[in-house]
Symmetry: C2
Subunit: 428 residues, 2 copies
């Protein structure tokens, strides 16, 4: 195929007419499909259904230390759940607290706590004139919403295939005391599917922030979310690296089983140094009497250990890999050589990241919506929902059925082509 | 029996010797019993076990609007859970949001939100020089811990059998703009088991606080927790009363099924006006993707409707009523006429409130501990853990077995007697 920008005006107009006709045809099929979020498909949810039978009316409700999981008590999680979830993120029980169904909730509450109470004795952030966070972008929109909600200024840092641009990160955090944190999705990042290299992780662990109360918010959301059995990314354990670097308190790590068991009914975990955990416990001991231990028991009895989780994740992979491949094949087939977009080919996670020609992303997303496919809003992957190049689009292929997805991918590439032609024609 | 204070020194010394001997005998039994918290007994937890079978590997996982409860989504609760929990507190679905497993967590987060974001546009409380809460006391220690955690000054308000002293409440809130809230347990209050009269509820609904951002924190924790089938307290719906009074936004109501189903794995609810709920939704939409809907489904399928809850609560009552009666009988039998203590006789809730002679509560609790019975720390029922009279003790009779409880009650009355004698002898 010839790159679109090499076509003359006449050819472009001809192409537009042709594409419009094709678009109208798919639009007429009246599809209604939500591809806006990284939601598992029904078949993935079915994988965890046996879990629901493992804690039943006849079950022993005691955890391994003899405590009745139905009653009040236990702030940091039952021992076997701490073991299971810590091993999922390559650390150990003493570094974790098990929480409720949402790691986003832990992150939000952590920022909230820093705002109101500071960090290990520092001035509460709400008392400071200015608090800033670094936001490697494209990134996870809900991270950015949290910092925006608390009035924290967000600074975009470029994402590279081996992680955030560490030259930029090191420079900024070492000079500006107002920078208190950075959002990271270190493995199979949202939305690009990039995994931080060992060097990136070590540079993180060795940061020398001007702010003593600076923390790395390490959202290891896709820690076990591989697409392939063999070809898997691996990530260094940041907790160990921070200890080695003499910076044990620098990082707060978050994860959950939301996309392992059930998105609404999983268990989540915080991992950190002893000093950080002690501070968190002071907070949660006032906030709650404890999290849902019956659900912790359910998870432990189903997965047993990290091998159980890994095995289970391969069943997920078998279901979603074809969806990723279907989208990638369509992109390859339809867009290669046209020079109107680039996309990532992740080995795990939940997303494919697509970069259109500059100034086209919003129009493309509007176009797919016209044909019944709702995608994540363009711009959402950047702080304040503003993509400076209006170029990044997050593709979430897991929820639709294979059949719907094939059609959705057609609609997407058609929208990309059409909008790109309009852009080249100067119409948008 | 003759009142202790009418005994002369010789008689008191004789009594002390006798009581000490009795105390040493029970102490020798080596009891180890925790009566410090309002925890249900194992037999109560067993009542809800069938619930665990109602959502199983073969279940339809859709709620009534067709949504798959296993996946992400739904911020305010599935429709049938909203209906169930709103009817439990005598309001309707449109006034509620269903949360996770802990109403304390909702209360904590609500105060946290007011601190950081203010109330319907008011100045965030953290930006104010002084924020104060009224604390009807004796009250719930965890309420006081929340306000203390956020550095909110607590002002004790006397509790009367029909609720907080409303003359004091009205006077204070109408004059002091720094007073931003009041903690209430309006039905079968913690620890006295008092229920607010209709007049008290109406006076609450008609408050004219100097602070526009004043809120009543209405913790309806024991809304359906009757001890008797016939002789039940009833409470006016504060939401309706506030609407009638033209103060719809004045109240935030909290409840949960923690002591209905499972303390660690129940569901909780917030009830409020539309404006308040909209504000809360803005917060939680950033904080989480949603609460555990599978657990909501479990609760709805088990209880079906409020009648189901009421029926279930009568099973609880049958188990714990004898425990309350055992304690009350021992108190009646052993302490009546001695003029060394007074106690409440609640018709519901989880506690009996005991008032010793002034200056004796700490010593009594220390004494029971000596004999192996851990009670709620004396003072805990007052702000900052300081009971000005050192007199109030919270008795939580639900957790121990009937047999243990009989012995614990003996230890308690013996401790009361012994400490009272020591007090009268001027030894403490």
């Amino acid at each position: 195929m010839k790159a679109y920008r090499q076509l003359d005006r006449e050819k472009l107009l001809e192409l537009k007419k042709e594409l419009t006709q094709q678009f109208d045809e798919v639009k007429a099929k009246g599809l209604s499909l939500d591809m806006s979020r990284g939601k598992p498909g029904k078949d993935q949810l079915d994988l965890s259904m046996p879990m629901l039978d493992l804690v039943n009316a006849g079950s022993d409700m005691k955890c391994e230390n003899g405590m009745d999981c139905r009653n009040y008590g236990v702030l940091d999680g039952i021992p076997e759940a701490k073991r299971l979830l810590s091993s999922m993120i390559d650390t150990d029980s003493e570094h974790v607290i098990v929480f409720g169904n949402s790691s986003l909730n832990i992150m939000f509450d952590t920022v909230s706590r820093c705002m109101l109470k500071g960090v290990l004795g520092s001035t509460p952030w709400c008392k400071l004139d200015k608090v800033k966070f670094l936001c490697p972008s494209p990134g996870y929109d809900r991270h950015f919403k949290v910092t925006e909600f608390f009035g924290i200024e967000m600074i975009t840092v470029p994402m590279l295939p081996d992680g955030p641009d560490m030259d930029v990160v090191e420079e900024l955090v070492s000079k500006d005391e107002a920078i208190k944190g950075i959002w990271c999705v270190p493995k199979y990042s949202n939305p690009q599917g990039y995994t931080y290299s060992d060097e990136t992780v070590r540079r993180f662990a060795n940061l020398k922030p001007a702010a003593k109360d600076f923390r790395i918010f390490w959202d290891n959301a896709y820690c076990v979310h591989h697409l392939y059995e063999e070809d898997q990314d691996s990530l260094l354990d940041i907790i160990t690296e921070c200890e080695k670097a003499g910076n044990p308190d620098l990082v707060l790590e978050f994860a959950s089983t939301s996309k392992v068991s059930f998105p609404g009914a999983g268990v989540s975990v915080l991992a950190a140094s002893k000093a950080n955990l002690e501070e968190v416990k002071k907070y949660i001991t006032t906030q709650t009497i404890g999290h849902d231990k019956i659900n912790q028991l359910r998870h432990v009895r189903f997965f047993k250990d990290v091998e159980g989780i890994e095995e289970h994740m391969m069943k997920h992979a078998a279901l979603i890999r074809p969806k990723f491949e279907a989208v990638l094949n369509t992109l390859d087939r339809e867009l290669s050589g046209l020079d109107i977009g680039q996309w990532t080919k992740p080995k795990g996670g939940y997303f494919i990241s697509f970069d259109s020609m500059e100034g086209c992303a919003k129009a493309i997303v509007a176009k797919t919506k016209e044909a019944g496919v709702v995608m994540t809003g363009a711009g959402a992957t950047f702080p304040y929902g503003k993509d400076p190049k209006d170029s990044n689009i997050r593709i979430a292929p897991t929820l639709p059925s294979a059949q719907e997805l094939a059609l959705a991918a057609e609609i997407f590439v058609l929208s990309v082509k059409l909008v790109s032609v309009e852009k080249l024609l100067g119409e948008i």
